[in-house]
């Protein structure tokens, strides 16, 4: 397997190397996140015109859609990392998978709340049991389950492997839930509500949205790198490289 993986990627799997790598990149990722975020917010809240049908309420889209996208993107990353962790038992993959879960849960929570706040003025209801919303809710429970299972174990690596297994089961489950809720909505007629569909969105509204999507990606990287770095310190506590760091950063 080591034959086709480039050497630098292989080296990156080593905790001290990744620690340094992530430490260098993290501040930049955060800066980019804040920068793109600020630009996106200005574009969305100030520059973009009010929507013909929804007035100014549609502006929630600039945080709702990127959060929804991130909730699913992170879930994909978590799944890939979980798979690598289970098959090849790479410590870094375990940490990445476990530390992605809280960030994913945060974005999922934001998606549900902002979606609800958007739904009330638009559809007249705080919640509806359509496939997308229900799947998002199930996704939140999946994240919480992974976090809960991880913390239920004394041995953190064992907990990470068990939670990784759960994550993979959950990944298979979410599309199944989406499918069954769709079916269920067709059975109980009148429950399908046409969500604010992908109508032709004007460029004035599109570019802040894309900008915010980029910003949230960078934010995820920044947050993940900090969490992973701390986890690596905790896991590798007995090693020399950790001792050096602990002593050099005394007082921080």
């Amino acid at each position: 397997m080591s034959n086709w993986i480039p050497l630098w990627l292989h080296k990156l799997g080593s905790p001290p190397t990744f620690y340094r790598f992530a430490g260098t990149l993290r501040p930049w990722a955060m800066v980019l996140a804040l920068l793109f975020g600020a630009v996106a917010l200005y574009g969305g809240l100030v520059l973009a015109p009010a929507d013909y049908q929804q007035g100014d309420a549609y502006r929630i889209i600039f945080i709702h859609v990127p959060s929804a996208w991130m909730s699913m993107f992170i879930y994909g990353v978590m799944g890939v990392a979980a798979f690598i962790a289970l098959v090849w038992r790479i410590k870094l993959a375990e940490v990445v998978a476990m530390e992605s879960a809280p960030i994913g849960a945060a974005f999922t929570f934001i998606t549900l709340v902002t979606g609800s706040l958007w739904g009330k003025p638009m559809w007249g209801t705080w919640w509806t049991w359509d496939a997308r919303l229900t799947s998002e809710l199930v996704l939140l429970f999946l994240y919480l389950g992974v976090i809960g299972l991880y913390h239920a174990f004394e041995d953190r690596r064992q907990g990470a492997r068990a939670a990784a297994f759960l994550a993979i089961i959950g990944i298979i489950n979410v599309p199944i839930v989406h499918f069954s809720v769709n079916w269920w909505n067709t059975l109980h007629q009148g429950s399908t509500i046409n969500v604010f569909g992908p109508s032709k969105i004007s460029w004035d509204m599109l570019w802040p949205l894309l900008c915010m999507m980029l910003a949230t990606k960078f934010y995820y990287v920044a947050s993940l790198f900090r969490r992973v770095r701390t986890d690596l310190l905790a896991l590798e506590g007995g090693k020399d490289w950790v001792r050096q760091i602990a002593e050099s950063e005394a007082g921080q």
Binding site: I110, T114, T230
Partner: protein, 76 residues
């Protein structure tokens, strides 16, 4: 209404738009701060543990420096 007031009114939807943005920022700020606090705690505990280890080694071998004994290879 001044332009700023118009902005904050959000066409009458202010009670939906601003809480939504607030949730977004608050959750992400918590997500930023919590790992920072955890990192500090981990480093603190790590340093305490290392200090205890060093103290134990000092007591065990008071005449030697507090480094792990290195087994010197036989000279070739």
């Amino acid at each position: 209404m001044s332009p700023l007031q118009t902005f904050f009114a959000m066409g009458g939807y202010a009670i939906y738009v601003w809480p939504a943005y607030a949730v977004f920022f608050i959750v992400l700020i918590v997500d930023t701060i919590a790992p920072r606090l955890r990192r500090r705690r981990v480093l603190r505990e790590l340093r305490a543990r290392l200090a205890r280890q060093d103290a134990r080694q000092q007591r065990a071998r008071p005449d030697r420096a507090s480094v792990d004994p290195i087994i010197t290879p036989p000279s070739l």
